[in-house]
Amino acid sequence: MSNAITMIEAVNLALARAMTDDPDVILLGEDIATNGGVFRATVGLLEQFGERRVIDTPLAETMIGGLAVGMSTQGLRPVAEIQFMGFIFPALDHLIAHAARMRNRTRGRLHCPLVLRAPFGGGIRAPEHHSESTETLMAHIPGLRVVIPSSPARAYGLLLAAIRCNDPVVFLEPKRIYRASKTLVEDNGQALPLDTCFTLREGGDITLICWGAVVQETLEAATRLADKGIGCEVIDVATLNPIDHDTLLASVSRTGRCVIIHEAPRHGGMGAEIAATLAEKALLSLQAPIRRVTGYDAVMPYYRNEQIYLPSVEDIMSAVEQTMEFV
C-alpha cells in the first residue's frame, strides 16, 4: 500500500507501524495524546493504541528525558516528543549524562533504546525560541545518534530505524518541510540504514553536502546549475552521528570540489567537522577550498528577519559558482 503523503504524515505512519510491530514501543510527550501533537505527528495514535502507550506527560522536559531513560532500561522503547527543539535543553542532561552513557557505564548490562523526537529549524514564522538548529550540540556527544530526515520516505524509514535501534537516537524533524511536498511512501515496515548518507542526485563536477530542510534549496540549486552546465552531486548526510564519512570522501575524491550547506550557525558546526575530515583525508583530490553556506553566528532572528538568516538557493548557487571558478 503506498500513498502520496507529507513528511509529518510519514512520521505518523512510522510511529503507527512501529507500535503495531512491537508492543514495547510507547509514546510520551506534551499534548501528544488527545491533541495528537501540536504538529499532529501522533494524531490518531491514542485511539489506535490506548492511553497506556500514548501518554500525555506533565509539562516538564527534564522529566521527559529522565522518564525515557528509566523506561528504556526496562526494555521499553520510548519515543518521546519534545514539542520544539528550543525546549530540548532541560532534557539534554538526561541524554548526555545518562542515555548516551548507560551502555558504556554498565559495560553493556543496561542500555537505552530510546528516541527523542523534536521539530526544528526556521522558516515557519514561529514564535521566539521555536526556530533554532542546534543539532551540533547533540552530534558532539559520544554514544548519541543524531538523525535528520529530509523527505517523507526518509522520515518513514529513518524513524523506523531509530525506534528499532538499541542506542539512543535524537530524531530531528525539519518542520519547515513537514508539509512541503507529498511523495509516495510505501508502508512496508522497511527501515533505512542509520550508518549511511543518501546520494540524492549524481553529478561529476562538485559535491553538495547538506541535511535537513536546506536539502530542498540544495536540490533546487543543483537543478538550476545543471542548466548552466554544472553537474552537482547532492548528498543528504541524514545521520550526523556517527557520520558516514566514507560516502562523502568517495564523492569529493571524485569531484574534487565541495560545498557544505546547513541551516545551523557556522562556528563549530558539523560543516566544520566534515570539512576538516575531507581536508585530512582527501586534500590531494581537492581542486578548490571547501566552502560553507550556513546560518550566521547570530541568534536566530525572530520571524520577520528569518529569511536573511536562512541559506537560500541563490546563496548556494553563488557558493558553487565561486568554487567552480577557483583554479
Partner: protein
C-alpha cells in the same frame, strides 16, 4: 470570604531513643532476633567496608570515595526489605545496598577504583548504576516505575537521594509525575544534614523535606534514619504500597553525615566539631547494638566473632579488587554503540597502536 481548602501534616516515626532504649511499645516483629540481628550484621559489615575503603584511598589504592558513615541503618534496612524483582535506583553513597542486592564487594571497590565494571555487576540485575549527577536518578526511578505500571507488574522501585538533591527540579518533577500517574516508586531522602558544605537549613525554608510530597499530592513522612526498627516499619509499608498499586511515597530519613563529604573533602572547614560529636551520640550502629544487648539477642562474644568475620570478608574483597587488571584498550570504544561504527573503529585502532607503542603505561 476565604475558606480552608487544604491542610497537610508530616509524621515522624521513631521507636528507639538515642541509647537504644524503646520509647514505647514496639512492633511485635522487633522483639525477636530476626530480622534485627541480620540488619546489625550488615551494618557492621558496611562500616568495616567503609573504614577499609577510606584507608585504601588514603594509601593511593582507591580514587575519591564517598563514605557511608551514618547511613548504615537506612541503607541496610532498605536493601534487605527490597525484593530481587524490585529495582534500586541508587545515588553514589549506597555501596552496602548494592552488595546486599547482589553486587560483589570487590566490584563496588572497582567502581571507586575508576573502573566501569563496578557498574556492570551481573548481580545488580536491572538496578541502575551509581548516579553522580544529583537528583537525575529520581526521574529514572519514575521512568522505571512507569514501565512497571504500563506492564501491570507488581514490583516496586526505590530511589535514594540526599537532602541537597531535593532542591533540584529533577526531584520535584519526579515526585510530581509519580503522583500524577500513581507510580510504584519510593523516594527515600537520606537527610544527612549536609550537602558538602551547605547545611540543610540553607537548602530550603521548608520545615521538613518530607512536606515536599504534599505539593506533589503524594504521601510524605519522616523517619528516624538511625533507628532500624522505625526504618523497617516505614519503608516496608511504602514498598508494599508501591507493589500493591497504591502509589508513591516520599520518605525523609533523618540522619547525620558522620564523615567528610568524600575523601576529597575536609568538613572541619565548615562545621563545628561539637555538632559532629553530638551526632555520634545518636549513631545507628551503636543504637541497634544497645537494643539487641538489652533484649539478650547480642553479646560480646558474638560481637567479636562478627568483627572477625566481616574483616575477613572485606579483606578478601580488597585482595580481589587489587588483583583485577585494568580493562583492555578496546573497552573504551566497544560499549558506546551496539556495534562500533567505522569512524570509531579507526580511533580504536589508533588507541591500540598508541598503547602497543608504549607511549602510556598502566
Amino acid at each position: 470570604m476565604s475558606e480552608l481548602v487544604y491542610r497537610g501534616e508530616i509524621q515522624l516515626t521513631r521507636y528507639l531513643a538515642d541509647d537504644g532504649t524503646p520509647l514505647g511499645p514496639l512492633p511485635g516483629w522487633a522483639q525477636g532476633p530476626d530480622p534485627l540481628t541480620g540488619y546489625y550484621r550488615q551494618m557492621v559489615l558496611a562500616r568495616q567496608f567503609d573504614t577499609k575503603a577510606i584507608a585504601l584511598q588514603r594509601t593511593g589504592q582507591l580514587g575519591t570515595y564517598a563514605s557511608l558513615l551514618g547511613a548504615e541503618a537506612i541503607d541496610v534496612v532498605t536493601a534487605c526489605l527490597m525484593q530481587p524483582s524490585d529495582v534500586l535506583v541508587p545515588y553514589y553513597r549506597n555501596h552496602i545496598m548494592q552488595v546486599i542486592r547482589g553486587a560483589e564487594m570487590h566490584e563496588v571497590l572497582l567502581y571507586w577504583g575508576g573502573d566501569e565494571r563496578g557498574n556492570a555487576c551481573p548481580g545488580m540485575n536491572q538496578d541502575l548504576p551509581n548516579c553522580v549527577p544529583i537528583a537525575t536518578q529520581c526521574l529514572h526511578a519514575s521512568g522505571v516505575a512507569s514501565a512497571i505500571k504500563i506492564r501491570d507488574e507488581k514490583r516496586a522501585v526505590l530511589t535514594m537521594i540526599g537532602d541537597g538533591g531535593t532542591s533540584k527540579g529533577d526531584f520535584m518533577e519526579a515526585i510530581n509525575v509519580a503522583g500524577a500517574w500513581q507510580l510504584p516508586v519510593v523516594f527515600l531522602v537520606n537527610n544527612n544534614q549536609w550537602a558538602i558544605s551547605v547545611p540543610r537549613s540553607r537548602q530550603t525554608c521548608a520545615q521538613t523535606l518530607a512536606q515536599k510530597a504534599l505539593g506533589a499530592g503524594i504521601r510524605g513522612e519522616q523517619v528516624d534514619g538511625n533507628d532500624a526498627i522505625a526504618l523497617h516499619e516505614v519503608i516496608s509499608r511504602a514498598l508494599e504500597q508501591a507493589r500493591q498499586g497504591k502509589g508513591p511515597t516520599l520518605i525523609e530519613a533523618l540522619s547525620y553525615r558522620l564523615s567528610d563529604h568524600t575523601t576529597a573533602d575536609d568538613a572541619t572547614r565548615y562545621r563545628e566539631q561539637s555538632e559532629l560529636k553530638a551526632a555520634w551520640e545518636r549513631e545507628p550502629v551503636q543504637r541497634l547494638r544497645n537494643y539487641l544487648h538489652q533484649c539478650g539477642h547480642w553479646d560480646e562474644s558474638r560481637e567479636q566473632a562478627l568483627l572477625e568475620e566481616t574483616k575477613t570478608t572485606v579483606q578478601s574483597a580488597v585482595e580481589q579488587y587489587l588483583a583485577t587488571p585494568s580493562q583492555p584498550v578496546d573497552d573504551l570504544f566497544d560499549y558506546l554503540y551496539e556495534e562500533c561504527p567505522p569512524g570509531l573503529a579507526e580511533q580504536r585502532e589508533q588507541a591500540r597502536q598508541k598503547m602497543a607503542g608504549g607511549e602510556h603505561h598502566e
